[in-house]
C-alpha cells in the first residue's frame, strides 16, 4: 500500500519544527521513519503533516562529562553501535544498539524516534529505564527533563504534548562495579522481541525492566528485583508469555551478577 496524502516540511531549526508541529493538530514529527514509514504505508497513521526532525542540529549533538553522556535524539542506532557515542561502561550502549533490528534500520532509525514511537518491544524503551536514563523535551511551553521510566506511558503512548519534540537522551555512567544483563527473545534476528529483560546492579542499586508485555515496561527496583516479584507483577500475561519473560529476567540477572 501507499501512504495517504500528506505534506512534508523540513524546518531549519528546532524552534521552527516546534512551531510547525504546534500549528497543525494533525502533524507528526518524522525522525528516521523506520516505524512511522511502514505505518504510513499501511495507513495505520494518516497525519496531514510530517515535520522532519532528524537533521536538526539541536538533535545531533553528543556530549560527554564525568557523570554520563548526552545523546542527541536524532543520533542513529548505527552511530551508537559503531561507538560514535562515548562508552558509559562495558560498551553497554553499543551492544544494545547493535542488537536493534538489522543494519538498514539502524542506519536511519534514531534513539529519540524509537523512544517517542514507544513500541513496548523496542530495545531502548526497555533498556534506558534500567540504565536510569532521562530525556529532554522541548515544546511551545519550554524545556523539561524527565526519566525515561516516566516518559513512556503505555503502548505507543508517551507524555509528549502537542508541539513537543525530544531533544536529547541523558544516560548516566555505570558505577565501577556495575553488572549489566540484557536478554531478549525474537522469532528471527531483526524481528521485534516477544520477551525481554534488562537488569542493572551496582553501587548498592538494583533495577530490572521487563519489556515486550504490550504496555509500558515494568520497572522493578531494590528488593523488588526478584523472580517472585516479577511473577506476581506479570500475572496478567498468559502462562507461556510470563514463563518466557521470567526465563529472560533470570538470565539477565545471572549476567548482571556474574
Amino acid at each position: 500500500m501507499k501512504a495517504a496524502a500528506f505534506d512534508l516540511v523540513r524546518p531549519a531549526s528546532l524552534a521552527d519544527a516546534i512551531a510547525a508541529l504546534a500549528a497543525e493538530p494533525d502533524a507528526r514529527p518524522l525522525a528516521g521513519g523506520q516505524s512511522l514509514g511502514p505505518m504510513l504505508n499501511l495507513r495505520l497513521a494518516q497525519p496531514r503533516l510530517l515535520v522532519q526532525v532528524a537533521h536538526l542540529p539541536e538533535l545531533a549533538g553528543i556530549a560527554v562529562d564525568a557523570d554520563g553522556v548526552t545523546i542527541g535524539a536524532g543520533v542513529t542506532h548505527a552511530a551508537i553501535a559503531d561507538g560514535r557515542v562515548p562508552d558509559i561502561g562495558s560498551g553497554v550502549l553499543a551492544r544494545i544498539a547493535e542488537g536493534i533490528a538489522y543494519r538498514a534500520v539502524r542506519n536511519r532509525g534514531t534513539i529519540g524516534g524509537s523512544l517517542c514511537h514507544a513500541d513496548p518491544a523496542a530495545d531502548w524503551v526497555c533498556t534506558l529505564p534500567a540504565l536510569g536514563a532521562s530525556v529532554t523535551l522541548q515544546g511551545p511551553q519550554g524545556v523539561r527533563e524527565l526519566p525515561v521510566a516516566d516518559f513512556v506511558q503505555g503502548a505507543f503512548r508517551t507524555v509528549l504534548l502537542p508541539g513537543e519534540i525530544m531533544r536529547a537522551v541523558r544516560v548516566p555512567r555505570l558505577v565501577e562495579d556495575a553488572g549489566w544483563g540484557y536478554e531478549k527473545a525474537c522469532r528471527k534476528p531483526g524481528d521485534f522481541a516477544h520477551a525481554m529483560a534488562a537488569v542493572l546492579i551496582g553501587g548498592g542499586m538494583r533495577r530490572a525492566v521487563i519489556g515486550a508485555r504490550g504496555t509500558r515496561p515494568l520497572l522493578l527496583e531494590g528488593d523488588a528485583v526478584s523472580i517472585e516479584h516479577a511473577e506476581a507483577a506479570l500475572h496478567d500475561l498468559d502462562a507461556v508469555h510470563r514463563h518466557m519473560q521470567l526465563v529472560l529476567l533470570r538470565r539477565a540477572l545471572a549476567k548482571a551478577q556474574a
Binding site: P38, L42, A185, R187, K188, V240, H241, H243, M244, V247
Partner: protein
C-alpha cells in the same frame, strides 16, 4: 487443422529425496536452531547440476518456513494477523542453513535423457525432518509437537502443560 507436439515419452517422472536435520532446542524459551541439514536427492540424470542445487536449496528454505515460521492466523473477528512480512514470518538468510546436498543419479526410464522433476522435493521434506528432530530433542521431556509451524510459543506451551 490442429498441429501438436507429443514427446517420445510423456509420462510423469518422480524424483526422490530424503532430508535429515540436527537441531538444538532451548527448552526454556522454545527456540529451535538448525545445526546440520543433509539432503539426498535423486533427480535422475542432472542436466544442469547448479540449477538442481538451487532448486533444492530454495525448496528447502520454503519448507523451513512451513516448519518453523509461516502461519495464516486470524483473530476472533476474522481479521488476518499475517498481512505484512513483519507479521507473516519468512525464513531469511540467517534462518536457512547451508544444507549438505548429496545426489543419486538413477536415470529415469520414462524421460528422454533420464532426467526427473526436481522442484518439489526440497519443500516437502523440511516439515517432517524438522518436526522429527525437534520431537527427538524433546522426547526425554515427554513432549511431542504435532502442529506446524513449530513456534517457541507452542514448544513452551507443551512443556508447561506436562
Amino acid at each position: 487443422m490442429t498441429a501438436g507436439y507429443k514427446p517420445l515419452r510423456d509420462s510423469g517422472t518422480f524424483s526422490y529425496a530424503a532430508h535429515a536435520a540436527v537441531v538444538s532446542v532451548d527448552t526454556e524459551l522454545g527456540e529451535v536452531r538448525i545445526l546440520d541439514y543433509v539432503i539426498c536427492e535423486d533427480g535422475g540424470t542432472l542436466v544442469n547440476p547448479q540449477i538442481v542445487d538451487g532448486q533444492v536449496i530454495g525448496g528447502t528454505a520454503q519448507g523451513i518456513g512451513t516448519a518453523l515460521y509461516e502461519a495464516m492466523a486470524y483473530d476472533a473477528a476474522g481479521q488476518p494477523l499475517g498481512s505484512t512480512l513483519a507479521d507473516y514470518l519468512l525464513p531469511g538468510a540467517s534462518e536457512v542453513p547451508s544444507p549438505r546436498i548429496l545426489h543419486m543419479q538413477t536415470p529415469s526410464p520414462l524421460s528422454q535423457f533420464g532426467q526427473k522433476g526436481i522442484g518439489e522435493g526440497g519443500a516437502i521434506g523440511p516439515p517432517a525432518a524438522l518436526a522429527n528432530a525437534v520431537n527427538d530433542a524433546l522426547a526425554p521431556l515427554g513432549v511431542e509437537i504435532t502442529e506446524l509451524p513449530i513456534t517457541p510459543q507452542r514448544i513452551v506451551a507443551a512443556l508447561l502443560a506436562r
